[in-house]
């Protein structure tokens, strides 16, 4: 049971330079991994590849030795850096959560989502509040792997801690694998058992 990237190459367009070259990494179910690198080293690209949003130019992404499923709910869910882009601005937030299945009350409580927020539009909430919805949506889909692309970068430290505590507790409970993309060394050390640096390993 593992999610792995095997000798993955990727570039945006034929004339562009390679963003990722011969990138290999593996994460077991229940494992927690942090990925760090300076800006422009392909952290987000790697996240998009692992979650199946992009196709590698060479190499492959394997889930339990098979390619990622293209139909149905994807067992690898990605949480984006900017929640306001990942939510339809015309939907009330109840609908946003229900897109991934039935509302789970315990999840709302864990994230401190007030019931009144559910009937509001995304532009009426702050970025931190929206990010809780995005994380809750990903967790409620019942994913086996969660890829967090700088999900707490724009949050204050208290909210960061709150969100990560819920994510880690939920991961523990359901034996989920977590890949956390982050700039923050301390956060990486706190949440992950092992850290890889894209700037050292793959360039």
């Amino acid at each position: 049971m593992a999610l792995e990237a095997k000798n993955v190459f990727f570039r945006y367009g034929r004339k562009q330079p390679w963003i990722l070259e011969d990138c290999t990494l593996k994460i077991d179910k229940g494992e927690r991994l942090a990925v760090s690198a300076p800006s422009g080293y392909g952290k987000t690209t790697l996240a998009l590849l692992l979650a199946g949003y992009l196709k590698p130019a060479k190499g492959e992404i394997l889930l339990d030795d098979k390619p990622l499923p293209t139909k149905g709910i994807c067992p690898v869910q990605l949480i984006f850096q900017h929640p306001e882009k990942a939510i339809n601005p015309r939907w009330r937030l109840r609908r946003v959560l229900e897109e991934s299945g039935k509302l789970r009350e315990d999840m709302l409580d864990a994230f401190g989502i007030e019931r009144a927020w559910l009937d509001r539009f995304p532009r009426e909430l702050s970025g931190g509040e929206l990010q809780r919805f995005c994380v809750a949506r990903a967790l409620m889909s019942g994913a086996d792997y969660l890829i967090c692309d700088e999900i707490s970068t724009m949050l204050d430290v208290i909210t960061q801690a709150q969100i990560w505590n819920v994510v880690l507790a939920e991961a523990e409970k359901h034996n989920m694998g977590i890949i956390a993309v982050t700039h923050n060394q301390h956060l990486a050390a706190r949440i992950a058992a092992r850290t890889i640096d894209l700037s050292e390993n793959f360039k």
């Binding site: 979650a51 199946g52 949003y53 139909k71 149905g72 709910i73 994807c74 869910q77 990605l78 984006f80 900017h82 882009k85 990942a86 939510i87 339809n88 015309r90 897109e99 991934s100 949506r137 889909s141």
Partner: protein
């Protein structure tokens, strides 16, 4: 003093314009088709009894103009509605379908836009046996292109949004995404496009009828009135040409302004102005 902000002002103005247009339409519809005149009153210049004067058959031109306007508005509404719905279908198909479908649709749009509209409307209307049906089909078949392009662009942009990609990863089908994420976004575009298409449709209807390829002569359309007036303008009868023509221009301008206002209210990018 109570302050009215700009948005409220625009909304009030828009509603006011709609009421005027509906009133004109209803007034025209209430006038009987055969408002026959008397030759005793033929060729009278504008007066209090006949504000627009009378034509060569003694019919009151004010009544005829409004009757004609309501006929034109029926044609305009029907033609632009058909056209706009068609545009949405084509636009979505181009953006959501395969590359080949997209290329084909763009090619058709280029062709239709490349031929002058009036000529195309005349040809289609003539081939369909003139009358209301031919005119409707002709106008509907020529006016969908620019809206279809707009909608294609909009759908392409929406499809690249993160929340659409997320939705796909949450196991939603393409059709579900189209119905829940994409189509609701197109509402304002569709509606504004429809209203802005309306004046074009009316003008084309009038011009084709004027040239004699549109509505039959017994139908009191604006184009017919203007066409008849040409026979008498040499004799110094200016009112059958000038007054109905002016009314047509005013109403078209009114609808155009209405469309612009609607866009200001509904378009999220200018809604905050």
């Amino acid at each position: 003093m109570r302050k009215v902000n700009r948005r409220t002002k625009v909304v009030i103005l828009t509603v006011f314009m709609m009421v005027i247009l509906i009133a004109i339409y209803a007034f025209g519809m209430l006038i009987p088709d055969d408002a026959a005149g008397s030759f005793l009153h033929a060729k009278q210049p504008p007066s209090l009894a006949h504000p627009f004067g009378t034509d060569a058959l003694g019919r009151d031109l004010l009544l005829r103009t409004f009757k004609g306007m309501s006929v034109s508005m029926t044609v305009g509404t029907a033609a632009s509605a058909i056209s706009a719905v068609f545009a949405v279908f084509v636009g979505v198909a181009a953006a959501a379908g395969s590359k080949r479908v997209d290329a084909f649709i763009n090619w058709v749009i280029d062709i239709v836009m490349g031929v002058p509209h009036t000529i195309l409307v005349i040809l289609i209307s003539f081939a369909m046996g003139r009358g209301l049906k031919g005119l409707l089909v002709g106008i509907a078949a020529t006016h969908w292109c620019s809206l279809a392009r707009l909608i294609r662009g909009e759908v392409l942009q929406l499809r690249s949004m993160q929340y659409v990609a997320v939705s796909r990863k949450l196991g939603k089908s393409g059709r579900w995404i189209l119905a829940h994420h994409l189509l609701p976004h197109l509402g304002p575009q569709f509606f504004v496009g429809l209203v802005l298409m309306f004046p074009h449709a009316i003008l084309h209807e009038a011009s084709v009828s004027f040239l004699g390829f549109g509505l039959p002569p017994e139908q009191p359309a604006i184009g017919m009135i203007l066409s008849e007036s040409m026979r008498y303008i040499g004799a110094g009868m200016w009112w059958p040409a000038v007054l109905p023509g002016l009314t047509l221009v005013l109403i078209v301008l009114l609808i155009d302004k209405l469309g612009d206002n609607l866009r200001m209210v509904m378009d999220p990018y200018s809604a905050q102005e």
